[in-house]
């Protein structure tokens, strides 16, 4: 207990030591990471090139139009789109709400879990640990503002001048900094729970207003919502960058307000409690892992700060008396998975919202481009599929749970497949039905999408049972510190199968027609995806079957 004590090191010394010691054992740089996914990238590029050539050939043979597929609109002529102003204002409102909600959950002053565990207990000035996280985290809202406001300002202005665009972007930055400042102040003072809940609700509801408006406009005839009806949306604070693009300068007050708030936050950084920093770090780690799994529910839960899986008490029968022990075990597992899905109605709601996103995009004036809709479809399909993989991911992380049943590994994997495959087969007609209601696609495209549904369920399993990055292998140096080998490769496992399964649907959507050959091709791809996604890799030492190398228990009737 009695040890000689000397002058302590500063937080900066400790930060540098941690960073350099970690890097000292790395072997290779970022190119090593890129090279490990070289074949995957090359494969995806080849696939997309072939798809492009197929689209051109199909458009030509179907005679759907002379224009390039890049410019082709998927919207039927005469469709009443949502105005660009309403869409821009809605998107800005949604993004601002999402940004504030995310920042309030993950910090915004962010540290990692090991940093909070090993640094914050040291008797050195805490500002040296907290301040870098505060300054680095400012990059994200700034980049988001730049990426969102610039194209919108370009779209709003008939003849945009560089000066006007710069002011508009500055106003966008001011808005992003203000939100960041508010989130930081809430973190410092441990307040603002109601604000976070409100922002979460806006994020979920706002995008749906676009598709609702478009559907209404197309049945309302003369009573349709016009640009004049939605002009007020431009005066929402989140739309002020658009006002600046239009010529106003008073919204630039946002910048001064934001800078004032940031200075106040900067001066009070050391007031943030260790508990706050730890909970933000835990939320950040949770969000990072859910981002890797691309699970919308986990991501939404982690970013929204939800701590429980809900209070639903739905209970399906878990004990079955009829049939063999094998069939009873299978029924129990399926019933368990279905119960878990039904106990989280928010998950099912998110899957439903994801089905409406492509239609929301299609409903916006000038955004009914077939390629844009195809990209949105791919992303939404993958997010929806992985959202349904919570049970499978839990089992992947806790294999002992699956071992409770006297079933071989292959059977357990097939049971995991049942719920995602069924829900994604139902998801496809909802998503493509909404698109069809807006005049995008055709009934035969909808049928093709339904055939792809079971394949999307297989992508869920492939993503859920992906191998984790291996820290035992030599790590790779990066500007942010060491990265384990296999990190990028692991990220691509799952999205790859979604792309392969959806390829016929996406090609048909962009080409503007569904040839008869597409149906057997889709069925074949769905079957192959099923075989791929439900394949169980046996441990090398256990080729004789059984669950994880353990022979299956004898079945008793």
């Amino acid at each position: 207990m009695s040890m000689k004590i000397s002058e302590r090191f500063s937080a900066k010394d400790i930060r540098q030591y941690t960073f350099r010691a970690g890097l000292s054992r790395t072997e290779g740089g970022l190119m090593e990471l890129v090279s490990e996914v070289y074949t995957s990238i090359l494969g995806a590029l080849t696939l997309l090139t072939m798809a492009g050539a197929l689209i051109v050939a199909l458009r030509h043979s179907l005679g759907v139009g002379d224009e390039s597929a890049l410019l082709a609109s998927a919207i039927s002529p005469g469709f009443h789109s949502v105005t660009l102003l309403q869409a821009s204002a809605t998107v800005l409102l949604t993004l601002a709400a999402a940004l504030l909600s995310v920042e309030m959950t993950m910090g915004p002053v962010a540290m990692t879990l090991p940093q909070t565990a090993w640094w914050l207990g040291l008797p050195v000035r805490r500002r040296g640990f907290i301040q870098p996280g505060f300054l680095k985290s400012l990059i994200w809202p700034s980049a988001a503002a730049l990426a969102v406001v610039l194209p919108m300002a370009l779209g709003m202005e008939v003849n945009p001048t560089p000066g006007r665009l710069a002011l508009s972007v500055l106003c966008g930055l001011g808005l992003a900094w203000l939100l960041y400042g508010i989130a930081s102040w809430c973190q410092i003072t441990d307040s603002g729970a109601w604000l976070k809940k409100t922002m979460g609700a806006i994020t979920l509801i706002a995008p749906l207003t676009l598709v609702a408006t478009a559907l209404f406009n197309n049945v309302a005839g003369g009573g349709a919502i016009t640009a004049a009806n939605t002009a007020w949306m431009e005066y929402l604070p989140t739309s002020w960058p658009l006002l600046v693009a239009d010529g106003a300068t008073w919204p630039l007050l946002l910048v001064a307000l934001a800078l004032g708030l940031l200075v106040l936050v900067f001066l009070n950084l050391e007031r943030i409690s260790t508990g706050q920093l730890k909970s933000s770090a835990a939320a950040g780690a949770y969000a990072a892992s859910s981002l890797l799994s691309m699970d919308a529910t986990e991501l939404s839960r982690s970013l929204g700060g939800e701590t429980s899986a809900g209070t639903s008490r739905i209970r399906l029968p878990l004990i079955f008396k009829r049939g063999t022990a094998f069939s009873r075990s299978v029924k129990t597992l399926i019933s368990t998975h279905a119960t878990m899905a039904l106990r989280s109605p928010a998950t099912l709601l998110r899957v439903l919202v994801l089905a409406a996103i492509p239609a929301s995009l299609a409903s916006v004036e000038f955004l009914g481009n077939a390629i844009l809709i195809a990209v949105a479809l791919y992303l939404c399909a993958h997010f929806a599929a992985t959202t349904l993989g919570a049970t499978a991911r839990f089992s992947a992380g806790n294999p002992a749970v699956d071992m409770l049943m006297p079933l071989p590994a292959k059977t357990v994997r097939l049971v995991h497949y049942a719920v995602p495959a069924a829900v994604m087969t139902l998801w496809a007609p909802v998503c493509f039905g909404l698109l069809l209601a807006l005049g995008v696609g055709s009934p035969s495209l909808l049928v093709l999408a339904v055939l792809a549904g079971p394949g999307l369920g297989a992508a869920t399993l492939r993503a859920a049972f992906r191998p984790t990055p291996d820290w035992n292998m030599p790590a790779v140096a990066s500007p942010t510190g060491p990265i384990p080998m296999g990190a990028i490769k692991a990220f691509l496992i799952g999205p790859d199968l979604t792309l392969i399964v959806l390829l016929p649907v996406l090609i048909a959507l962009i080409a503007g027609g569904v040839p008869a050959i597409a149906f057997p091709i889709q069925l074949t791809l769905t079957f192959l995806a099923y075989k791929w996604g439900t394949h169980v890799r046996k441990p090398k030492s256990a080729k004789d079957g059984g669950l994880f190398g353990i022979p299956a228990a004898p079945v008793q009737k």
Binding site: M1, S2, M3, K4, I5, S6, E7, R8, F9, S10, D13, I14, Q16, Y17, T18, R20, A21, G22, L23, S24, R25, T26, L113, P114, T116, A117, W118, W119, L120, G121, L122, P123, V124, R125, R126, E270, R271, S273, T274, G275, W471, N472, A475, G481, P482, P484
Partner: protein, 278 residues
């Protein structure tokens, strides 16, 4: 302080030059040396103080709801207070509230006469806390984790201190391993070692016996008792009657109501609840 800082910076430059010459694998050894060399006249640990912890009508809980009875106790230097009770009784919640990791529903805690605030330098200098939190830098070795703590607390003989603790906890051969390559019990030893590579006047341990083998439990208990006798104030949660009997000087039984007990009474109470405990 400025002189010392200047020395650290010049030594950092020296490290970079040495690394360049000897290769990146030497960097951690060199950093150990730097952190050991960058010293100024030593400051002795604070002498044992009276009333290290004083909890007054403390109600621990979550969201304004208490999880156990109201707790009042004081802990002096050279005393070890064990919190015992059944699973879910609220022992860990009480300990986390005492050290400021959770907000109290009501009541207050003073540590060394000051209101608990882990943002203050004094608190972090004097109080060592080990909970069961497995959060490690995946790229750093066991030695490097301990070096952060030891050097961060200004220990002069970082290398020697770490080597001694690794030996005590049976991790000498694993110093160059990364935590996620260790077994659960070895990671637990590493976490416990982190509390011993730094100075402390109050040590707070939440079920230190968990995941340790019997021999290690015995050695740890004997050492803790020796440190308590030398002036350490120890607050711990435990379910192990032997551990408690060796270490504790007094005990609190935590449940809906709180009972003060002697260590012998508490050990008997635990043993009767958990006859299969090893």
């Amino acid at each position: 302080m400025d002189i010392c800082r200047g020395r650290v910076l010049s030594l950092e430059l020296q490290v970079e030059a040495e690394c360049f010459r000897e290769g990146p694998k030497q960097v951690s050894r060199l950093y150990f040396q730097v952190m050991s060399k960058a010293t100024s006249p030593s400051r002795k640990s604070a002498p044992p103080r009276q009333d290290v912890v004083r909890a007054e009508k403390l109600q621990a809980g979550y969201g304004g709801q208490g999880v156990c009875g109201v707790v009042s106790f004081s802990l002096h230097a050279a005393q070890a207070l064990a919190l015992v009770g059944p699973n879910g009784a609220g022992k860990s919640t009480v300990v986390k509230t005492v050290v400021g990791q959770l907000e109290a529903v009501s009541g207050s805690t003073l540590i060394n006469g000051a209101k608990v605030d882990d943002r203050t330098l004094d608190f972090r200098r004097e109080v060592a806390v080990v909970f069961d939190d497995d959060a490690f830098f995946p790229a750093l070795t066991v030695e490097e984790h301990l070096a952060i703590v030891s050097a961060g607390h200004g220990v002069e003989d970082v290398e020697e201190t770490i080597a001694a603790e690794l030996e005590f906890f049976g991790l000498s051969a694993l110093g160059k391993s990364r935590p996620y390559n260790l077994s659960s019990g070895q990671r637990r030893r590493m976490l416990l070692a982190s509390a011993f590579v730094r100075p402390r006047s109050l040590l707070v341990l939440d079920e230190p016996e968990q995941r340790l083998d019997t021999a290690m439990r015995h050695r740890l208990a004997t050492r803790l008792r020796a440190e308590v006798d030398a002036g350490l104030a120890l607050l711990l949660v435990t379910h192990d009657p032997d551990f408690l009997a060796t270490v504790a000087t007094k005990a609190l039984f935590i449940a809906d109501t709180i009972h003060t007990m002697t260590p012998t009474q508490a050990a008997t109470a635990i043993a009767s609840e958990n006859p299969h405990a090893d």
